[in-house]
């Protein structure tokens, strides 16, 4: 069971704005999906390995040699709003960051 408040909380974390009917619908759907995922409760979890990476570390790391960067005009051309040097975003009206 997933409550509407939980849905709104998660939506805030994920920076999604949901209409009330979406919140309602998602609460139902997420609830069903998470109930299904609860199947995993059967799996023993105190012992045994946690598989974080399928691949095995076996190759050397990257040498500290400079490579090509993207030309600045190409970078800024991608941005919805920019000047010659930087991309622009609307101001933070709330203290953000980490």
């Amino acid at each position: 069971m997933v409550t509407r408040e939980q849905v709104r909380h998660v939506a805030r974390l994920a920076k999604l704005s949901l209409a009330p009917e979406e919140v309602e619908r998602l609460a139902g759907q997420l609830g069903e999906i998470l109930d299904y995922i609860a199947l995993l409760d059967e799996v023993e979890s105190d012992t045994g390995e946690e598989l974080t990476h399928v691949a095995v570390p076996e190759r050397p790391l990257r040498a500290d040699e400079p490579g090509a960067c993207l030309p600045r005009p190409e970078i800024l051309a991608l941005a919805p709003r920019a000047d010659d040097e930087t991309m622009h975003v609307p101001p933070v009206l709330d203290g953000g960051g980490a």
């Binding site: 999604l16 949901l18 995922i37 995993l40 045994g48 990476h53 991608l78 009206l93």
Partner: protein, 486 residues
């Protein structure tokens, strides 16, 4: 409609030119795409240019590889410099990548000709290709049915003869499933066999790019070109890439493991019949059938939806309207920039997955969901290792059912997720797997069977698949195509 291998031969013998192939391809796209909606972007000029260069190389007498001059299509979540890459999402509508995926670079160096970008489920999240923001793709064999997803465009492109070769991507079966539904060969390489640099990330620990073609030979030729260590992708394997061969029609000495858990109830009788027939043919070719078990495979879907959604929720955080992609108009502050751009730009399925993933990783839930999923994933990987002690390859259905009607599973996300139950374990364990056409339903819907091999043993996989293909024949030609030019 000729397969890659035959076309390569014809090109080599000078019977046709690459430009001619490209014109054929473009003509077929013009004819069929209005019905099927496969392509999101066709690069006519670029394709013709590349074809010309290939023909010029051949005219100069240069020795050319098996893909030189061959037209191919790219799933729109793989970036190519100068071409749009939308991932079938509004949030990337109009986004033109300034860089090439390693795959694209390697294919260009091999002389292959990129014709265009094909449709997918938005951000590769889906099993039917119904979740594209730019309209759904139809199954060429039966246009009222889905082609499967998320690489529906890639498989429909090959199945309908628009191109002999295409590349899709897998996270939970997204190449094998549509390949099965469309009657073509689709391969998911081992995790780390093919570079992911330039593949827009969905489930980073699961994603792989996979080739799609009418024959095992085509897929093998493609893999030989694109596989291998990439300095730009730290997860690629160092193991050398052989020239993959397709076998000599004998399976003598091979042990084919039939996966017990995947042939039980819930499997459509016609699907079961195809698998049994395939198993039979294996025996006739000299293989020994063994019974294997993957006892933890039943947790696969649950593990997959936790892991892939968690990774996706993080991978898709970069789509925020700030540096590229869609920015919602009229946003007044940073918070609005994020929430409005993302909410307007992402489709429902994508939002659902982001929500699941964010929830699973959020404070207080990590151990119950992500932690447990990682444990179960280890168990599934171990199941495969044990199965491969008893068998050289594993045989099973690709999906419990053949293709379904458009709209049938859209109201029930969970039902849609269970479509992937048989393909997901290979992604979780990182082993290579392939879908091979193995028959059709009475109404003409293709049915594929799945072969899986040990980690980095694509050689065994392709060898067995090639031999079995000899016995089963190629996938059927869609009526749509047979009606028109051959």
């Amino acid at each position: 409609m000729r397969p890659v291998g035959e076309l390569a031969g014809a090109l080599a013998r000078g019977e046709i030119g690459s430009l001619e192939l490209v014109e054929d391809s473009l003509a077929r796209i013009r004819e069929l795409d209005p019905k099927l909606h496969v392509f999101l972007h066709v690069d006519e000029a670029g394709a013709r240019e590349a074809a010309d260069r290939s023909d010029a190389r051949r005219a100069r007498g240069e020795t050319l590889g098996p893909l030189d001059g061959i037209p191919y299509a790219l799933k729109d979540n793989i970036v190519a410099r100068g071409l749009p890459s939308t991932c079938a999402s509004r949030i990337l509508e109009g986004f033109v990548s300034p860089y090439d995926a390693t795959l694209v670079t390697r294919l260009r160096d091999a002389g292959a000709v990129l014709v265009g970008k094909v449709n997918l489920d938005e951000f590769a999240m889906g099993s039917s290709n119904e979740h594209s923001a730019f309209g759904l793709t139809r199954n060429p064999h039966e246009t009222s049915h889905v082609p499967g997803g998320s690489s529906g465009g890639s498989c429909a492109a090959v199945a309908s003869g628009m191109v002999p070769l295409a590349f899709g991507s897998e996270t939970g079966g997204s190449v094998r499933l549509p390949a099965s539904f469309c009657g073509v060969v689709g391969l998911k390489p081992s995790y780390g066999r093919v570079s992911r640099y330039g593949l827009v990330a969905f489930g980073s620990s699961l994603d792989q790019i996979g080739p799609v073609a009418r024959t095992v030979q085509g897929v093998a030729d493609a893999l030989s070109i694109v596989a291998g260590l990439d300095p730009r992708d730290a997860t690629t394997a160092t193991a050398p890439v052989p020239r993959y061969e397709t076998g000599d029609d004998s399976l003598l000495g091979k042990r084919v493991g039939v996966i017990r858990e995947l042939l039980g109830e819930g499997v459509d009788p016609e699907v079961g019949e195809c698998v049994r027939r395939a198993a039979n043919e294996c025996e006739k070719l000299g293989a020994r059938l063994v019974d294997v078990s993957l006892p933890h495979a039943k947790y696969g879907v649950a593990v997959y939806y936790v892991v892939s959604s968690a990774e996706a929720s993080s991978n898709l955080a970069r789509f925020d309207g700030a540096r590229y992609g869609y920015r919602a108009p009229g946003v007044r502050d940073l918070e609005e920039l994020y929430t409005e751009s993302r909410s307007q730009g992402f489709g429902d399925e994508v939002k659902r997955r982001i929500m699941i993933g964010t929830f699973a990783l959020s404070s207080g839930y990590y151990d119950a969901y992500y932690g447990r999923a990682m444990h179960a994933r280890a168990l599934i990987r171990d199941d495969f290792a044990r199965a491969f002690e008893a068998a050289d390859v594993l045989l099973s259905p690709v999906s419990p059912t053949p293709s379904f009607r458009i709209g049938d599973r859209m109201e029930d996300p969970l039902a849609m997720y269970l479509t992937d139950a048989m393909t997901i374990p290979a992604n979780l364990a990182g082993v290579p797997a392939l879908s091979l056409p193995a028959g059709a339903t009475s109404s003409g819907l293709p049915i594929g069977v799945q072969l899986q091999a040990p980690y980095l043993r694509e050689d065994v996989l392709l060898e067995v698949a090639g031999s079995l293909e000899g016995a089963l024949g190629w996938g059927p030609l869609p009526a749509l195509v047979a009606e028109g030019a051959a």
